[in-house]
Symmetry: C2
Subunit: 153 residues, 2 copies
């Protein structure tokens, strides 16, 4: 991993972890590439087939994700295939993908509209992901606040 952005660009909000994450994966395609990588996609062609993304854009996104330590690219023994795999940091985005998925299930579908479902290895749906406080009680945005970093902290 390379805790930095491309040369010539700068963080939108350097002190905020939310903003840095958005700078790294907050575009139309990166999160969907990561979603498909978690679902077993490993090759350029497979990502292209699943996403219907323009090929030059896919090339660029895969390169960026590799640069930022989210995907790892390796040449197959095969000779013509390449294999993209999630790094540990990439796999750690699972929580984020689950959060996006659960919000979408709750708010982006009509009640009767079908959608894909994330299940564990025994086919059971996942419980709802919920931020908790130190005391174990659910925590809302209203009950939390951002403590800004001071220079020299």
């Amino acid at each position: 991993m390379d805790v930095a952005l491309a040369a010539g660009s700068a963080w939108t909000d350097p002190a905020c972890p939310v903003a840095r994450t958005v700078d790294l994966i907050g575009d139309r395609w990166s999160l969907l590439i990561i979603r498909d990588a978690m679902d077993g996609a490993t090759s350029f062609t497979e990502f292209h087939r699943r996403l219907g993304i323009a090929r030059n854009i896919l090339t660029d996104r895969l390169r960026r994700l590799v640069e930022h330590g989210i995907l790892d690219k390796s040449a197959d023994t095969d000779g013509r295939r390449h294999t993209y795999r999630l790094t540990a940091a990439g796999q750690d985005l699972f929580t984020t993908v689950v959060a996006l998925r659960q919000w979408g299930e709750r708010h982006a579908f009509a009640p009767d509209e079908p959608h894909s479902v994330l299940v564990d290895d025994r086919g059971r749906e996942l419980p709802e992901l919920l931020p908790l406080g130190q005391d174990g009680a659910p925590l809302s945005a209203a009950a939390s606040r951002v403590r800004r970093s001071r220079p020299g902290e």
Copy 2:
């Protein structure tokens, strides 16, 4: 809320909740607007000041977020101010914002680099958000899979 995209556009992947959520808020600014709304920002000027976003883009993003039922816009008694507030669906994005924040803290900062911290109303940091299985044990991407929706399901 209006479970639909703007007229003329279509979902990137209609059956996937992750993709629908990304279609709604997966751009450079929407999530940061939501972050600041959770941190108390309510006016056009305040969002503009905090984010340094171009004014026409901010106008567009606020309009879209209102259209999609994430923000609510109301005229202040004051007469010149408008107030933007998170709807219930908007507040429900707290989990997603926390997931993005925690990933950023773990992977987008050098060990000694300072960053802002999300704390509860007593100033204590939040525990790590972690997807669990039905049995209560932590679940990884590798131990889960996507069950696709079949037409008519």
